[in-house]
Symmetry: C2
Subunit: 168 residues, 2 copies
Amino acid sequence: MKLPEAKAQFIQAWGLLGAQWGVNRTMAQIHALLLIAPEPLSAEEIMEALDISRGNANMNVRELMNWGIVEKVLVPGERKEFFIAEKDIWKAGTAIARERKKRELDPILKVLLQLNKVEGDQKDKHVKAFRETIQNIQKFAHQTDAALNAFIKSEEHWFYSTLLKVIR
Amino acid sequence: MKLPEAKAQFIQAWGLLGAQWGVNRTMAQIHALLLIAPEPLSAEEIMEALDISRGNANMNVRELMNWGIVEKVLVPGERKEFFIAEKDIWKAGTAIARERKKRELDPILKVLLQLNKVEGDQKDKHVKAFRETIQNIQKFAHQTDAALNAFIKSEEHWFYSTLLKVIR
DNA sequence: TTGAACTTTCAAAAGTTATTGAAATATATT
DNA sequence: AATATATTTCAATAACTTTTGAAAGTTCAA
């Protein structure tokens, strides 16, 4: 397989994966494109490579920056802004996990806490079934929360231990 | 908070969570409804409770059964089919993880394997950047795969250890 | 201060996904 | 076998999401 074909396939696959995870397809494709680019890319180059409009490129690059997995870089002597992706995929993974936890798990933990306060007769089987389900989900959610926190933190440990080795 | 309000809030929250994970909102809401129901529910009851059409109810209940987190039960003396959700949320979680791994992670592992075979001069920085990225992602994907497999398996351990206790 | 280069915004259009409901099919009852 | 009840399918449509591209906004050099 030649490089251009391989690149195209990777961008496609990454876009599909993103879509299944509820991420905008274009956003995932821009991410893929930047991941395999040896140099920073400008908005123009992204538009060209993926055949998308300026607005679309701008919007999704911004969202990737919000997620903390892409950043703006300034190339000396150039007016334009250029973009690079975090190349360490472990870092990108934990950044994504951090963001999704914030957007998804934290709100549901809050709702579950509220729902525990439901009034009613413990002998009513409807109340009983509800309470039990909520409490089980809560337990599960807290375990998941702990696991995610460990994952997110593991990156820092790895980072610092590697850094220590590098700086001796 | 009264029970009906609490139920409504839970169904809403679960639906929202599902949507963010790329799961059909109605599918998540039916799951929520069944989770907190003390008795099996019929298609009619689901349609009524969520104010959805027969076709929609049918389609999403079927999909939940495909995922292995809802099943059909037959109530003696009734013509209709009734549905219940797996109440052990840990089991449901691992079933979901198993399904998503199959649909999402496994295909990308396959693509990554292919992309390793890209031809080209190792000195070409484009080829080099591409190769390195693919290999890093592959490493990460394999780690994730291992972690997911452990999670999925943990349920079985729990299941068998509990079973052993029950049957003495 | 002007204008060229570049970025951002946003309303309209295109594209995608979910839902409805009536018809077709299947299953049970008499 | 005929009828009643229940389930499934699917084409049409509604709801939602993404994308476009032109206009507005910003920045900077002269």
